[in-house]
Symmetry: D2
Subunit: 338 residues, 4 copies
């Protein structure tokens, strides 16, 4: 941590800051420059975080040097995290994982149909919302436990894994009974009580990046999970909010190499939610794999016109099948398989 | 709702869309232009929302015309909402309400001291976090119920009202026992289960705008509360996330007249969290009142250097007192009192 | 400047960086921390900027400490800049300056009418575009020199000052013949050749903040003007681009106290362009003055329905007159006059 | 164009709007809904743009339906634009074009060295700045005409094409004498006088997207060029400004499929400027090609430590060569060559 003093900071103010740093068991390291003085803080940075040094007189600003996350960082664990799911599926391994299915579970028949389609095209996870976070209270809110049952049934029948969203601390246990992986949605990325509860559950987690979350904040939310002992965490880039309105959100492909550099955790991309238009899903899916993503989450619906949510961004099964074919040579080009 | 067809949409595609619209009990109104055809939809727009018309072949995009919120809109209730709290305090009335106190409740003594200071300077609500949403799992997470007790004690002793954050559906009841107003924080603005639970509780609510939420989304979150029968809702602008880093967030003063035009609900501003620097709090507080805000939420700490959170943005009691003085003529200039 | 070395930087890499710093005549100051080493650079920071230290092996990132602008900074000139225009008008003084008029100069009669209205209501500058930067090549591009003549004529007749935009290095001389103050528009804030040319001209300048410019970048653009010897510079906040679409742009009121702290240059606000809707102009104008702005730029049109550009954001003369009245007590409350 | 009337618009206000529309030779088409009336406007939308309908009483907002650009749109020209340069290079064709070289031309020797490296690795364009847009007036501003001479010399010797930036209307002719393609930088994307001048010059143009420009605004800037008769335009995505600070800008890979759908013009990506870190250049370059980009612009420097600008984002020649190898199978996977 570096404390930058104001241009006109007095020797007393500089001394006062140094004293506080020492009080915390750390060592201040003063560099007097032509224009201003800076104080390097040697030792465990977290100790200083407790004190809001910026509130001290004469302090201009405080520049953290260490990353605020520990367990999630590459410094802590240099090798990439891989974890096994049942059915021989590995997340973060050489094989790119594909999670596919409808936005919402709407009924048993439709889910079964879509599940068969995505399974036969090569997906290993079945996605589908039973509890849906909807912007409007008047929109379809999901089937709840009924939806979870359909997901489990379809997955068991076809040898798929279930990934589905949990929105509330009170339903972590319920959703865990049916799901193989718990999804924490973008809007709940900083619902810290939910993070803690899912951390404790030890279930594999898919943590989606919030609409306006930096990569650093995403990793801090992952740290909530890891610090509760849950290391089976996969991150998901699903688009950030920018000024551009041509796509629903702006998928931040740049985040993939950044995440790969900063953390050992695997990362996948959700081009369906991010772009909001099925026409853009295939190019962004290709880009994600080319950039080094460990997997994809894709919406597939056999009748987007009748979808109760997010029809415009859903791929028809045949388009999904085509996309899977198109992704294979790209995966190979970057040393992966699909 | 207006359905804009693609340049090259076929008559069959246009017909197909019109049939769907009629099936829903609505009336399509076709306008054939030189370059493209548009279809106006007459009737209750929500019915159409169920069908994702953008997924229909030949459709370019769908433009909603009606606002997606109902109970929160000025169309529904043209006169401004005012509601009474105990102790003769009215939110949304002629008198501007000021909520002040420390970021976090740190201990009993400090809270009592700050509470006295803000009370004597004219604040009517005591703010302070007992449950704290912290970006890092290693930061101080709040005193929990102990903090709530201190808040209640200080408020009762001094004739203040307590506003404090509730972060989890499981603690709505607990927090409601101590607080006069429940705060839903920016990170939980789209925690829909929490919104529902707080809506059911019927407690007065302070709903903070999310970091990347549009005003429309803020009003949809308010709609979750209203649609559960809870009409005692006050909105809070606390800064949005932009590219500018000179301030922690960018307080969107523009949102005040927009909110005043769109909804009947009162709105206050939190310059402490929004700017992140105490030096900027006073000018933004003045701007908020001048723009028509119904109140302010302000952080006051008697020793910012020792604050466990957000020290740099806290006003010292004497600065707070000065600010209250400075705000009076501005409130008067816009027909309000303080 | 602080050079943060990577976690695993070798002693050779650290040495290599230090050698480069010394080569430039500066002093490296090494602090070895538990997790990483940081190197403080003592001396004139600009020298180091020439070398891209981030490209050196082992370097994680480089944190500048000194501000990149000099002449524009408060450190360089602590007292606020005021400058006199003819007719006894002072920019940056106790009296708030108001610049008003139509978006574009459309014809002589209309300009004369609006000029009389704004003059009688208290504006001292007549604004109006003769050269218009339009997003579309098919939009009205302004009357050019003819428009400048009308501006000069109206201003001379009524004792007003002319502020108008210059878009091209080739017309700086022409516009200077007619205008009292040259406006550099938001889209040209980083048109560096134009900045240099206007700097050389020594004409007073109104420099608008770019749509996605940070305050620091705005001050660097001002530095281009100052470094050519032109110190008569007034900055203008006119809205930044964010995700919010309820207003055309998001006027960043927070920028006012930031600018006041960082620079000695005066700053005004343009609520008409920033909000894009006349209904929001008055509250934002009030907020700007309350926050400490030195003036306002406002669009006034006597027949917005017929305006060739930006009708929806123009105030009718009677609304402008009312606003001027409403601003007086607010100006007074912050120690200013209007 | 659709005019949405306010909830409480009177019949007179509706009539007034319709009359104006007819006056312009267009046909209003009124749809009376339950909650509000909408008026479809049939005919050439540009005519209406002249009138700011939003300024009419009773009008809530105006929704444009037609795209504001014509010549740049796919509706106008459905097939993709390809154009030939000398030396058998085609832009927009099956073969992906690579433009590579240093950020700035620093001296003759260095340029010659880098040019040889990029030529032998497969680049067909030599990039390099002679006139540099620098945020600070104290940064290296480029060698000017001397730099242009070196570029021409290197390109002629090695059979490369020169692409270099022109910043000022006054130097379009000069730069055109040396360059094969004129680059308009991100900061000048809305320097409309420059666009007009470059349009008239008929030189092939590389038009970079502005930092906060929507795709629609980029296409409107292209329309300035096309409307002057210059159809040899290639667009360049180089990162937009968002809240994320882990990368210098956020390369918007989503813009590639959007641009491909909206316009016939080719599009390339500049990962060096967009990410600001050489470590991220390769993954983003791969993503760009996978998403369908027609080419890449890349910074290569044989000694990034000594670069006068943008060293940290420059690839060493051997990294560039490796990247070219890695891109080949990806280009092939999407039906292209490199």
């Amino acid at each position: 941590m570096i404390v930058v003093m104001k241009h006109n900071a007095t020797p007393e103010e500089i001394h006062h800051v140094c004293e506080k740093i020492k009080e915390l068991g750390l060592t201040p390291h003063v560099s007097r420059g032509v224009e201003r003085t800076i104080i390097g803080v040697i030792g465990e940075e977290e100790k200083v975080r407790v004190k809001p040094l910026e509130a001290f007189p004469g302090v201009e600003n405080v520049v953290p040097i260490q990353r605020p996350y520990k367990l999630a960082s590459r410094d802590f664990k240099p090798e990439a995290t891989e974890f096994d799911m049942k059915g021989g599926v590995t997340v973060g391994g050489k094989k790119v994982v594909v999670m596919a299915g409808p936005c919402s579970v709407e009924n048993r028949e439709m889910l079964m149909e879509v599940a068969q389609e995505v399974r036969s095209a090569g997906a290993r996870f079945l996605r589908g919302g039973a509890f849906k976070p909807r912007t409007s209270p008047y929109s379809f809110q999901g089937l709840g436990e009924e939806g979870l049952k359909y997901l489990r049934e379809a997955a068991d029948k076809l040898g798929l894994l279930v990934v589905t969203e949990v929105m509330d601390t009170r339903t972590v246990e319920l959703v865990s009974q049916y799901a193989d992986m718990l999804q924490i949605g973008a809007r709940n990325m900083q619902n810290f009580d939910l993070l803690k509860e899912v951390g404790i559950s030890k279930k594999p987690v898919l943590l989606k990046r919030g609409l306006s979350a930096t990569v650093q904040e995403l990793l801090l939310s992952a740290e909530y999970l890891l610090s509760k002992g849950n290391f089976k965490v996969v991150l998901c880039e699903r688009g950030i909010r920018t000024f551009e309105t041509a796509t629903r959100n702006t998928i931040d492909i740049n985040a993939i190499p950044v995440i790969k550099q900063e953390t050992h955790l695997p990362v996948i991309v959700d081009p369906s939610h991010g772009t909001g238009k099925w026409e853009y899903v295939a190019p962004i899916a290709r880009a994600a794999i080319a950039a080094g993503a460990d997997g994809l989450m894709l919406e597939v619906h056999n009748n987007p016109e009748e979808a109760l949510s997010d029809g415009p961004q859903s791929l028809l099964p045949k388009k999904f099948r085509q996309l899977m074919e198109d992704l294979r040579p790209i995966a190979k080009a970057v040393g992966r398989e699909l």
